[in-house]
């Protein structure tokens, strides 16, 4: 399983457990959109603790999910990003629309 998720109080947390590049981005997108459309969350959190590599395909993926979430009246936040991924986030300005939340409990139980 490459994506774990957790639902709680209209909040949907995704934990992606693989490299995010052009190759796998479509597969990830389908899984995320299925869950988002089914659950209609008010808040989506992307937990990056198990993503060691991400390139610009990941930026496209996040912006796409941001558009979907906004359309459904929700917000997107991100957590646990490593140094390299942070550089890409900062470069793209994506942190301005998806704020970073600190101290996400790494012990959360995913479904």
């Amino acid at each position: 399983m490459e994506i774990d998720y957790k639902k709680e109080d209209k909040q949907l947390t995704f934990k992606i457990n693989e490299d995010i590049d052009e190759c796998c981005v479509q597969k990830i997108r389908r899984k995320l959109d299925n869950e988002i459309e089914r659950y209609m969350p008010k808040e989506i959190i992307f937990d990056f603790s198990d993503v060691s590599f991400m390139d610009s395909a990941g930026i496209g993926l996040l912006i796409g999910r941001y558009k979907l979430a906004t359309m459904l009246g929700g917000k997107v936040k991100i957590s646990n990003i490593n140094t390299t991924i942070r550089k890409i986030f900062e470069m793209s300005g994506i942190l301005r629309i998806m704020p970073e939340i600190k101290n996400t409990n790494k012990e959360v139980q995913y479904e």
């Binding site: 590049d21 981005v25 390139d55 610009s56 395909a57 390299t84």
Partner: protein, 158 residues
């Protein structure tokens, strides 16, 4: 006598997107001999991934072709050349602009060249319509042991 450390490798693979991970890991493994920091390795992997992705999805689009990666080490500098014989880029200056993409419908971010340029020291793009594109990138590895060893050996230290 040639005291300058040099090495070179070359790989060619089909333009399938599951070769992107192979390409960046192969380059990273080759560059490892310069003893780079984790951050330098991550920068190189990301830049290679962007260039290879461009060749696969823009250069060849739906068609199958061959992507060539040449990686050279000269002293503590890495030169990476990624080329395809795909459709080429019409206007390189426009293509390099942040957020510019010809495939917005596929949720492409248009950040590829911007990432290459900020993660590498130098990026050069050559392209001929209908013939293909070649991206050449350079990065200096700062945490270089060989250079230190070499300097020490010149001074006669152990």
């Amino acid at each position: 006598m040639n005291n300058i450390y040099e090495n070179e490798m070359k790989i060619e693979f089909l333009s399938k997107s599951n070769n992107e991970a192979f390409a960046r890991i192969a380059v990273a493994s080759f560059v490892a001999q310069l003893d780079p920091t984790l951050e330098e390795i991550a920068d190189i992997k990301t830049a290679v991934s962007e260039a290879v992705t461009n060749s696969i999805i823009h250069g060849y689009e739906e068609k199958l072709g061959v992507v060539k990666v040449v990686c050279k080490i000269i002293k503590n500098e890495v030169f990476i050349e990624i080329s395809d014989t795909g459709k080429g880029i019409e206007n390189i200056e426009i293509a390099k602009q942040p957020l510019y993409t010809t495939k917005a419908n596929l949720e492409r971010s248009g950040m590829g060249f911007t990432i290459m340029e900020s993660f590498m020291d130098e990026v050069e793009v050559e392209s001929v319509l209908g013939l293909g594109t070649k991206v050449t990138m350079k990065k200096k590895i700062k945490s270089n042991c060989k250079e230190k060893d070499f300097a020490m050996s010149l001074r006669g230290e152990e």
